[in-house]
Symmetry: C2
Subunit: 454 residues, 2 copies
């Protein structure tokens, strides 16, 4: 077979790159668990009627067909997000779950889209959601925001980012207070502001949503409001529109901003951005988007919001609030550009060198002693010259090489051990039962290269 070519839209990592992804997944999981989120994994497939249950056939679902089944497809498709499977999981297991139910889920999802920058056909997502039975107090909206911010700030190699928050009640209440008759259409048109100039959106609001020119101007004025504190409330009030739903939205968004500003830093900015609506998604209150500094073309890397009905079985409704981080969307460009990588292609901190093939048992015993104390290591594949064995370690980024020498002339065959730090060349006597590398050498680390250094 000749050399296979990569499949477009299905990114894969080399071992040293995968170290970064492993680090990200472990950091996210550890943070979510610190906040009491339980892990769930759902199967990769859902029945087609579930995947298309919102009638939204625009999704590019991969449908499954058994190779030897000539009767058609298997009625199943690969999930395109983790929300649909989770909603199904909640309904299927409702009697066995405790609510409010906090879960995180880190899995691959698939979309049969045309691949482009930041868009893949297979990609990794990390979702957190809190789901209630019948009710879910608003403080959980503040909670999920904090949890995701806490997770993102621990990914120290990330560029800075901006979490933009808004509230559907606020914008819908504002449009209602203005007297708009088709609130959804207004929202859909205002959502085009990132693609069309404001004047054109204003014309569409008049032509398609039946607003007056003054009403259209008010809608655009609302969408320009951006503040990093709760001063957006005064600016909205100054527009002179009133509605009970608007009041509710203003109050919720102000609570969210006040409840999360303590987490803001130079790198982590939180902003009430009244232009954010999350398009066609079925959010009913809080909405989130996130832009990565210098990678704005990726779009939102971390999005979500509040659903009044994440799931419902007709009798019971399960409201939810959650955020989804596009792990691949962030990581693949950073890794492919070489901005971030692992400093080793293997987990080994030590290569145990071999003086001859007969001493392999002895080298294995050294390796076993190191592993018993949590030190990852490997034994040299052959008793090549020591220079070659050191190069073997160097090519993999293994920082230490262990040498054991048995003096055949000494009574009882005394063995001496030494360990060399191949970065400094420093070689010292060492005991396999007690020697430890510095903590920072124990595991592969993440190396960041500034793009300007390249």
């Amino acid at each position: 077979m000749s050399k296979p070519a990569p499949l477009s839209g299905f990114p894969e990592f080399l071992p040293a790159q995968r170290v970064v992804e492993q680090h990200v997944v472990a950091t996210l999981a550890a943070t979510f668990e610190l906040h009491g989120f339980a892990n769930v994994e759902t199967r990769a497939v859902e029945p087609m009627d579930q995947l298309l249950r919102k009638g939204d056939t625009s999704k590019e679902v991969y449908v499954l067909k058994r190779l030897h089944d000539e009767t058609g497809d298997a009625g199943m498709g690969l999930h395109f997000d983790l929300t649909v499977p989770f909603a199904r999981y909640v309904l299927e297991n409702a009697g066995k779950l405790e609510f409010p139910f906090r879960r995180y889920q880190i899995q691959k999802v698939w979309r049969g889209e045309r691949p482009q920058e930041g868009r893949f056909r297979e990609f990794l997502q990390a979702d957190i959601d809190i789901v209630g039975r019948d009710v879910l107090p608003f403080h959980h909206d503040v909670e999920v925001t904090r949890v995701m911010l806490d997770a993102l700030r621990r990914l120290t190699f990330l560029p800075g980012f901006r979490l933009q928050v808004n509230n559907r009640k606020l914008i819908q209440g504002f449009y209602l207070g203005l007297g708009a008759s088709d609130v959804d259409e207004v929202m859909r048109l205002v959502d085009k502001l990132d693609k069309l100039p404001a004047e054109q959106v204003a014309k569409l609001l008049v032509a398609d949503a039946g607003l007056s020119e003054e009403q259209a101007a008010q809608c655009l004025a609302l969408a320009t409001i951006r503040t990093s504190d709760d001063s957006f409330v005064e600016r909205v009030r100054a527009l002179g529109v009133e509605h009970p739903l608007l009041d509710e939205g203003l109050d919720e968004l102000a609570r969210l901003v006040r409840g999360t500003t303590a987490l803001a830093t130079d790198k982590v900015r939180i902003e009430a951005d009244l232009s954010i609506a999350r398009g066609l998604d079925y959010y009913t209150g809080t909405v989130f988007e996130t832009r990565l500094d210098g990678y704005e073309s990726l779009g939102s890397i971390c999005s979500g919001g509040r659903y009044d009905a994440l799931a419902s079985d007709g009798r019971t409704t399960y409201p939810g609030v959650g955020i989804s981080l596009g792990v691949s969307r962030v990581l693949v460009p950073l890794v492919q550009r070489g901005v971030v990588t692992g400093d080793r292609s293997v987990p080994s901190a030590v290569l145990v060198a071999l003086s001859d093939e007969e001493s392999r048992d002895q080298a294995d015993a050294v390796a076993t002693a190191l592993r018993e104390r949590g030190i990852a290591c490997e034994v040299a594949p052959s008793a090549a010259k020591f220079g070659k064995q050191i190069r073997h370690a160097d090519r993999r980024g293994i920082p230490y090489v262990w040498f054991s020498t048995t003096d055949p002339d000494a009574p009882g065959g005394v063995t001496t051990h030494e360990v060399k730090d191949i970065r400094s060349g420093n070689q010292v006597p060492a005991d396999p039962a007690t020697w430890e590398p510095p903590a920072e050498d124990l595991r592969p680390a993440i190396t960041t290269i500034k793009e300007t250094d390249q």
Copy 2:
């Protein structure tokens, strides 16, 4: 939507059950890394010609089709094991990998088979392989065996098991030495011994493989040899058959048994079993199977062996040796029978109770202080009566409840903190900045219930 039903063959776990799977995956990964194995994840799909490249169309592959693509399937299918994708990954990245290359891969695989006990349509596998370029010395066969044994022995909740090893060179050399003309056919027929009585296999060996009755009897005699040390060598020699390939196989298998017996315990038995051939798979030397005590009906839970050509691009050949553990095959029956579960449905070690909704900020501050020291916790969802909050913790298996009380009459509003172990009822003063639970309460633990206790 009404309550969805589970999909047959696609097992999913409840949160407390998932704790077990997380523990297994983390233990396997940590062990493989201690032995210097790098992690790799490959995409879920492979081109159909790759999946069927051995001409073996008996595989029940799930083929992918884009929902809106009327022109046919996408030419891709879900991988049915981790060996085919890994062989492709090695060829695709050969120039960027360092050989010998040790990798582990823990991923879902899919097979469109009819579901039955221990057989699923989606299941988790954990594979380790060592791949060389052109050559791969035999000591790596001993190495992968040791690594998998080391991993399995750390899964302390598992029943005992028996690792059965054999060598294709040994059996092929024996058949050649006997004078068999169609060695593969003899192997295929002897492999039926676990389904058919020996007399019937003997008849087939005469009828289909052209052996004499005496030759057939010799083949069956070989297949009855089972020893837990290298004494199988003498027993094979006693059958009086000679061939250079037999010698090579005997030597390799003896080295493997001697190199791994140090890892044997009451629970972990290692056995040279000369009946093991691994059917139609393309092994060329060492072969492994593993039976779990009390779960023999599951078949082999952990299998593998040596390939002289795991991959080849025509110019370069990549020999490999590896073992694959059927994580779902082992875990799903144990979990579904309730033999093993997690002792909590949430990661939280502490529930921070709320005396009233106004004190939520204070409760959040306690939670943040605990999390800073790695203690997973959650704040009560509402300021219900304390009895109800304790039951909230109890139902989730959270061992500790934290109470903060602010005396409104004391100058400056002094807050006192206490923590209750709800299992013992013991309640003591505690400081959010220093209190720690015992290490065994920090994370959910695995609970094993003897089946006889149920």
